[in-house]
Symmetry: C2
Subunit: 226 residues, 2 copies
Amino acid sequence: MDGITVDRRTYQRSASGITVLAHFLGLTALILLIIWLLHYREGLDLDSDNPSRVFNVHPFLMYFGFIFFAAEAMMAYKTVAATHQVQKFVHLFFNLVSLVLGIVGIHAVFKYHDKLNLKDMTSLHSWIGMVTLCLFILQWLFGFSLFLFSQASTAYTRARALPWHINGGRALLYMAICAAETGLMQKASFLRLGDSRESHLVNVLGVLILVFGITVDISVALARYV
Amino acid sequence: MDGITVDRRTYQRSASGITVLAHFLGLTALILLIIWLLHYREGLDLDSDNPSRVFNVHPFLMYFGFIFFAAEAMMAYKTVAATHQVQKFVHLFFNLVSLVLGIVGIHAVFKYHDKLNLKDMTSLHSWIGMVTLCLFILQWLFGFSLFLFSQASTAYTRARALPWHINGGRALLYMAICAAETGLMQKASFLRLGDSRESHLVNVLGVLILVFGITVDISVALARYV
């Protein structure tokens, strides 16, 4: 812009600040989610006879397992204080944890539907969530084969693929956030929460998850300026 | 990455292709939305005595007015074939249209609530939507005062603020998409659409709006590599 350049450390400082904020928001959302599931709902247990307790494993694992770990993986790539190889490995490993817990989380909601003889995959939430998980698995395999086994690709291929991997990951983060928001919206409508204290808690939780996603994304975007 | 640079034209071509795809997805979503409101619902009219027709103005204006124009504004900044001053003006003007139609769209849903004596601002959808519109107005004023009246800011201030303006705009786009998705989810739950043809249409509409947002974001992100 007009040939003016800004000292990169300006954005480095901002990126660090926003990364700290992101961890804080992510953990606060986790605490609110646990309070919601334990205090307002009936707790969580994948092997329970109570369908509600089986269901509650779903929001817990989709947020804490899928979204939180994937978001931490995005930030870890730049912020883990270690060699670049270690950063890459942490990035890959956190995303693997996210993927596995996400699959278990989806299993939980299918099990809940089975118990109540409900149809699967009818809502917008289910469509967004399933598309997100499938693309996430592809993105993980793509990243694993292209960037971890450097022998399998040329440096040029990797450099050319990198913006697609970064932007694909960012898009997937927002897709997962949309899945979470529609999921909370669906549950709040289903439970007819109206204007209760529980609905306020769910709304604050939804806004926190959204702002968490935004701070993670902006911390990664600013880090690209560094 | 390993000191390898990729020819910028590679991303320029990709950004152009994705911009075309974005226009196409955005218009397809608009057509589906109109089909939904006219064929499955009762049409739209802000001055109707039928509350449903008043309500239907809300999804129409929030998507076509608010999201679509703001997304076109984001792409116009780089893609309008004119001088940079004209690009900036188109960017600002489209965002102004988006802002005004967004306010009318929110008026429509408040009017609907009044007619049925429903409480305002109780759902997660309403919270996300209102926060998004308020921050969008601030972002517009910020952009207007900082970038349009170049006398009012130094080139350094503008260069320093630019990544915040870009990333803030991208975050607002995703917030607006989340508002749309939660809105569709809320309406589908409220109408108890279940596994009907109408619910399939709403789900496809929701997925299209989401993918539209992602293509707009990626086209802008890749343009930064150009």
